[in-house]
Amino acid sequence: MRSTVIFSEKATPASITEFHDILSNDLVSIKEKWSFEFKTYRLTVKNLPQGSSKLMHVITFTNRDNQSVIIKNNSAIITSSATEAVQSSLTLNGCSTGTLDTFDNLLVSKLSNLWTQRQNIKGDFGSTFKTTELTVRATNVFSYGGFKGLLIELECEDGVSDKDFDQRVMKIRHLLDEMSIGEYRVCSSSMDPKNYNFICDLAFQYVKVLEV
């Protein structure tokens, strides 16, 4: 499975309807609503070596079992608050008490001397379109109530070759070019090209398009 994330800052709140309209010729079905949350944390340590990154991102996908991906530089971890199967094995081994907090909560309550929250970007109640070639998720993005732009997430099924996927993404991009949303940022890269990890790569693409 591969993914691509597109973000347009120039879009208007109505662009998502326009996008739906131009996509409607290829639509197979309209699926569930979805949302995501994108938080940026900044390391407060002052004596870091020059040029080292201070930002860490926490991206939560409510439509993917509420999993969160936390990314800093080249490393990422995946956490989730709904993990019954995993949890029972950890609880049996005496590792876990069975009551979980989110990673965000841990950062805010216990590590706030190291990490400060800088930014909170949200996409709520987005649409999911299934076309013959791709699953397209689109949502308007807000930051503290202010409109930020239009975000589109493209996902293909297993077994589609990289080349085919890239072509399908290009088709969507041509559609977007017809719309009046101006420039947009696209990211299809993987954190580790030798080793695809779908959800980590997806989160990485969010970081690339949303973080200016």
């Binding site: 989730s80 081994n93 876990s96």
Partner: protein, 275 residues
């Protein structure tokens, strides 16, 4: 955040058999064998870390506890034989049947975890279970002279997997600002007593440069505890306290359950020199 109410004690190696049979009779069930590997991490000493956060609140530096279950089939491949008796062979520094390298590989992610899934029985759930870590930070237990049990708040989250081009859990935590402090290995048995009380008898080793050194030589750590999911749930806290005290009374004269020293339960960084 979970509240853990606890009482501790210890027994010597020779009392183990009798203790197990007494406790089994008391709770009505045989104990479960468990094992875990724990890595304690501390804030990177090279960092100049503020004592206060952006809201000017004092935040003390705490250690992070990272732990996961041990592949017990490496200790005893035969499932039927994996009962409380296997702990009797662990009276020394060596942990027979467990290669300390496994722990290092789990931390640094160089081991092919699928290889470890030989024993289908213990590894149901596939690789997600194998890669998952529990990550927690504990507060110092609540102070006060009138306390009957130790009360400690623990903030915990589960790491399902790690990824990226440097995919080990350790490399992520070093990005988070934490480095390895010390590592422990625990093998023990657990009784599920009545009223939500768990009782553990365990042997603990410290892992150092691939060598293991037993801290509990000559005996076992005994820990009775109750986890309360909500710190505001006074009813459950009182119930848990009552259950623990009932167990304390029941075992009194045999295993003396006591409140652990607050300071030894403190995971803050500054505390290390005091113990």
């Amino acid at each position: 955040m979970v509240l853990q109410l606890s009482l501790v004690s210890s027994i010597d190696d020779d009392s183990y058999d009798l203790c197990v049979s007494t406790l089994s009779n008391l709770c009505g069930n045989p104990p479960i064998v468990f094992g875990n590997f724990t890595a304690m991490l501390k804030p990177n000493p090279a960092f100049d870390i503020e004592q206060v956060n952006s809201k000017n609140q004092l935040v003390e530096q705490s250690r992070i506890k990272l732990s996961k279950g041990l592949p017990l089939h490496e200790v005893e491949p035969d499932n039927a034989k994996r009962d409380f008796r296997i702990l009797k062979k662990y009276q020394n520094d060596e942990v027979e049947g467990l290669d300390p390298q496994i722990m290092q590989d789990m931390l640094y992610g160089s081991r092919d975890l699928d290889e470890m899934e030989v024993d289908g029985e213990t590894n149901k759930g596939g690789s997600t279970t194998q890669n998952a870590w529990s990550l927690s930070i504990s507060d110092i237990p609540t102070a006060g002279s009138g306390r009957k049990v130790s009360t400690q708040a623990i903030t915990e989250t589960t790491v399902l997997a790690s990824g990226g081009s440097s995919p080990s859990i350790i490399s992520f935590l070093s990005e988070l600002g934490y480095v390895l402090d010390f590592q422990l290995l625990v093998l023990g048995i657990k009784f599920n007593m009545n009223n939500g009380v768990f009782l553990e008898l365990s042997k603990i080793w410290r892992l150092n440069d691939g060598r293991t050194e037993q801290i509990t030589k000559g005996g076992f750590l005994v820990k009775a505890f109750v986890n309360v999911a909500k710190s505001t749930d006074i009813k459950s806290i009182n119930l848990g306290t009552t259950s623990l005290l009932a167990l304390q009374k029941e075992l009194s004269g045999y295993v003396e359950l006591e409140i652990p020293d607050r300071k030894s339960m403190d995971s803050r960084l500054e505390n290390k020199n005091d113990i």
